[in-house]
Amino acid sequence: MKRVLGRIAGMIPVLLGVTLLIFILLRVVPGDPVSILLGEHYSQETIDRLTRVMDLDKPLIQQFFSYVGNAVRGNLGESYTMKRPVTTLILQAFPSTVKLALMAAAIAWVIGILAGIIAAVRQNKLLDHLFMGMSLAGVSVPIFMTSLFLQYVLSFKLKLFPLTSDGRLISLILPAIALGWNSAGSIARMTRSGLIDVMQQDYIDTAKAKGLTKASVILKHALKNSMLPVVTMMAIQLSSMMSGAVITESIFSIPGIGRLATSAIQNRDMPLLQGTVLFTTIIVIIGNLAADLLYSVLDPRIRRAV
């Protein structure tokens, strides 16, 4: 418990750093937000008034702290273009992204781990080469390409799935496959190398000498040890999945966080961009924390050391 609290406390500087970094990156564009807000025709007077209202005349550090203060209370400002609170927009978009990410993660984990185990067991045999080639291809193919390919073949040509998202789960299957395919590759490679590494350990010899057959050696002794590093992989996967969601959501027109981010960039909507990036990053940090804690629950060497 102490460890959990310690880890949560350790998150705070990272969270502040993340906020500060986004803030600096976005606010080095002076005066910009106002002109975007007003469009083509405006007077100097209006600019000044708006600048004051939006705190843009205050020193940056003060702006930062008022932004953090507001953010903690759930207020991420108001979108320029949609004229609605950023928090509301994000909370509306979030469920779609969660659904997409969960489906993609399920696909990635099931395929990745199974392929990894089979490849490790059949090391240097045909199946191993086949799976590893496929997973390397999975890592190497741009997500937009998988997405466009699936869209063209399965939706456009074969008409098995809707072309774009319509809110039904079935319309999320293709984007989830496109997104999960990529992660499945890295998970399979990690699982394979982890399992092969564990199979070289002395205690595997012990297990064989005890009289366990190959299958039970793998299931009872090797798998748990080799899954430990894969758990840490979850966090990294979460981060890249969030990146991938931006692309798939854009291609399949899913009204999720990624869509929000792309449209914020296209419309130069600074508060919206700031809000979505901050929000996704926090999700990733929480994911990291969860993976870390899970790791320490699974590994007795860490668990008992507390």
Binding site: V29, F149, P229, G244, V246
Partner: protein, 305 residues
């Protein structure tokens, strides 16, 4: 060799009399060819693509921006091997010229992030203490961002001031150095504890000499591997940014941008999107195969990404 003998449990003491063997790069290439011919083939392919990019003006069938408005959106044929786009530009020519942008964008940010990551990682690992703490929190912060979103933010900010290719360099370097720093730091930490570094200290070798003579050379194998695996991920990031329309800006051409421009014709003329996509895939795959092969040879203990 070392690895093999370890596996078989026959220690090197048994091989004492074959002191004559030397392991030069030729031996290594030979071994790699035996173990992993795909990696060598990939290296050849990469060299060929780099050459094609360099000599694009010579080998391309048309001029870089040559438009033929009478032959727009043609399918693959004899005159245009891979067809033409909506402005009647030859797709093959564009891919060849696009290779210049895509490869440069793949390589330069990798070099920059490698250098930054190496320096900061070594400093953090070797000096430890507060420096290490601060640098590692910075790395945590950088790694917490989904990289595409961070690049998007950087493109958003810098996009108005600089050429889009320069912006991509910046964006990919800023997002790329942190993972390099983390690997270098952990290597430095373990090397710092190694007996031969202690031996050097016992002789009286100074800190900086230890860093350059003992720690840095032992990091090189993983740096080579990191570099070969960073290039494809930069190429992927660039193509993704360009695909979303916030990367390379026309008239410059990159493979990602070509896919972006052909998106609107996807259902009618899929080959337009297919050609640059497949090019990206092949190049990235080649780099990944090479990186994998190099890792097996140079650094059997490095974890998969």
């Amino acid at each position: 060799m070392e690895k093999k003998t370890k596996q078989t449990g026959i220690q090197s003491e048994a091989h004492a009399s074959d002191i004559g063997e030397k392991y030069g790069w030729k031996e290594m290439l030979h071994q790699m060819w035996k173990q992993n011919p795909l990696a060598i083939l990939s290296a050849v392919l990469i060299i060929a693509i780099i050459a094609a990019a360099v000599f694009a003006p010579v080998i391309a069938p048309y001029k870089e921006a040559q438009q033929d408005l009478t032959a727009r959106l043609q399918g693959p044929g004899m005159k245009h091997l891979l067809g033409t786009d909506e402005l009647g530009r030859d797709v093959l020519t564009r891919i060849l010229f696009g290779a210049r942008v895509s490869l440069v964008v793949g390589i330069i940010p990798s070099v920059i992030s490698l250098i930054i990551g190496l320096i900061l990682g070594m400093i953090a690992g070797y000096f430890g203490g507060a420096v290490d703490y601060l640098l590692m929190r910075l790395v945590d912060i950088m790694l917490a961002f989904p990289s595409l979103l961070l690049s998007m933010v950087i493109m958003y900010t810098l996009g108005r001031y600089a050429n889009s290719v320069i912006c991509i360099f910046a964006a990919l370097s800023i997002t790329g150095w942190a993972s390099v720093a983390r690997v270098v730091r952990s290597q430095t930490l373990s090397l710092k504890e190694s007996v031969y570094v202690e031996a050097a200290r016992s002789i009286g070798v100074g800190k900086f000499r230890i860093m350059f003579r003992h720690i840095f050379p032992n990091c090189i194998p993983s740096l080579i591997v990191l570099f070969t695996l960073n290039v494809p991920s930069c190429i992927l990031s660039e193509s993704t940014l360009s695909f979303l329309g916030i990367g390379v800006q026309p008239p410059a051409a990159s493979w990602g941008l070509m896919v972006n421009q052909s998106k609107q014709f996807l259902f009618g003329m899929p080959w337009l999107a297919l050609a640059p996509s497949i090019t990206i895939m092949i190049v990235v795959l080649a780099f990944n195969f090479l990186g994998d092969g190099l890792r097996d040879i140079l650094d059997p203990y490095m974890q998969t990404r």
